[in-house]
Amino acid sequence: MAFPPSKGKKHLCRGDLKLRITSLMDVMTLVLLFLLKTYSVSGPLMKPAEGVELPSSTVTQEPVKVLGLIITPDGLFEDAAAGERRMIEGIDVLNDDTVLQLTNLSTYLSNVQERNRYLGREEKRVLTIQGDKSIPYRWVLKVIDTCSGAGFEKIDFVVYKESKYRG
């Protein structure tokens, strides 16, 4: 025997279904506060090069954008996006112990300096190197010697910042 429908339930007020977004608002507020806290007014002046795992250091000097070089385990490149990078020196030259000065790099640096002079840009004797942390010392030394020979007075290594308050 079928029961008749309840008279009480029949009169229940069925309001519009609403999405409860209170919890979403909580999460969004937290994310917003976190992002505002880490927000930098100056913005990132330099981005780590793709495919390069930079070494870490305790230095605190903020990076500035100047002429840059990228050294990966595949060779020495000019500072550009991963797909547009032009190789300056290959592994064979960098590994060759009889080669002390990198001729392609010297040519590249003199071309850049010449172009800057032609365009009337301020001639900065500063160069940044984004070097993979696994590249051998002999490569670094050759690049430094060549850049120093080309007249660059300061060579900066781009590193990941780590806390110096270690043991």
Partner: protein, 200 residues
């Protein structure tokens, strides 16, 4: 006789909710903007000034300890070999002024011992500054007061490494030789003027 309960109490009141749609709209704009400008990795620059290396004059070595104090050279060198770190002063390769710091049990360079050795050299052999002098800073064009030590190269360290030593190790050597934390907890400069060179 019991009264019949009023039917009014069954009336349901709708909950009043704040209209958060405009706030949500604002958040949907702000969060992507902040996400795109956020710095999730902190980059820094390790400055290196390639020095104009001057060959050690033999006459200076001969006059060590006899002439004026300004002619004395410390000649601190660090060689990063595959099997450890070699620290030497006064350009010797044996004796108490030549220290070999072998790899630790994990096969890594023992940078704590290395730093302790450098601190020992700084505090016991170099000693405190004996005077101050003014030096023109080429970058800022201003006069700066610099410390004068017993040795003219008291702030310099020559670092060399075997060819296949990775860059990370060199950066760590530069870090540990640049400054140290003294007993009071303050960071003090150690040998802040490095010169990278060929392995010897």
């Amino acid at each position: 006789m019991a009264f019949r309960p009023s039917l009014k109490k069954k009336r349901q009141f709708e909950e009043a909710e704040a209209n958060v749609t405009p706030v949500m709209n604002l958040m949907c704009v702000l969060i992507p903007m902040l996400l795109t400008t956020a710095k999730f990795v902190d980059l820094a620059l390790l400055e290196y000034n390639p020095p104009v290396l001057q060959e050690t004059d033999a006459s200076v070595d001969d006059n060590r300890g006899e002439g004026g104090v300004s002619t004395e050279l410390l000649e601190l060198r660090v060689n990063v070999a595959y099997d450890g770190l070699e620290v030497s002063i006064f350009n010797v390769i044996e004796g108490e002024n030549f220290t070999i710091i072998p790899l630790d049990y994990d096969g890594a360079y023992d940078f704590r011992v290395f730093r302790d050795r450098l601190v020992e050299i700084k505090e016991r052999i170099v000693g405190p500054a004996i005077s101050e002098s003014e030096l023109l800073n080429d970058e800022t064009g201003k006069l700066e007061i610099v410390n004068v030590y017993k040795y003219t190269d008291a702030e310099q360290i020559r670092i060399s490494a075997e060819g296949d030593v990775p860059l990370q190790t060199i950066i760590q050597v530069l870090d540990y030789s640049r400054e140290y934390k003294n007993l009071d907890g303050y960071f003090q400069p150690l040998f802040p003027s490095p010169a990278l060179g060929q392995f010897q």
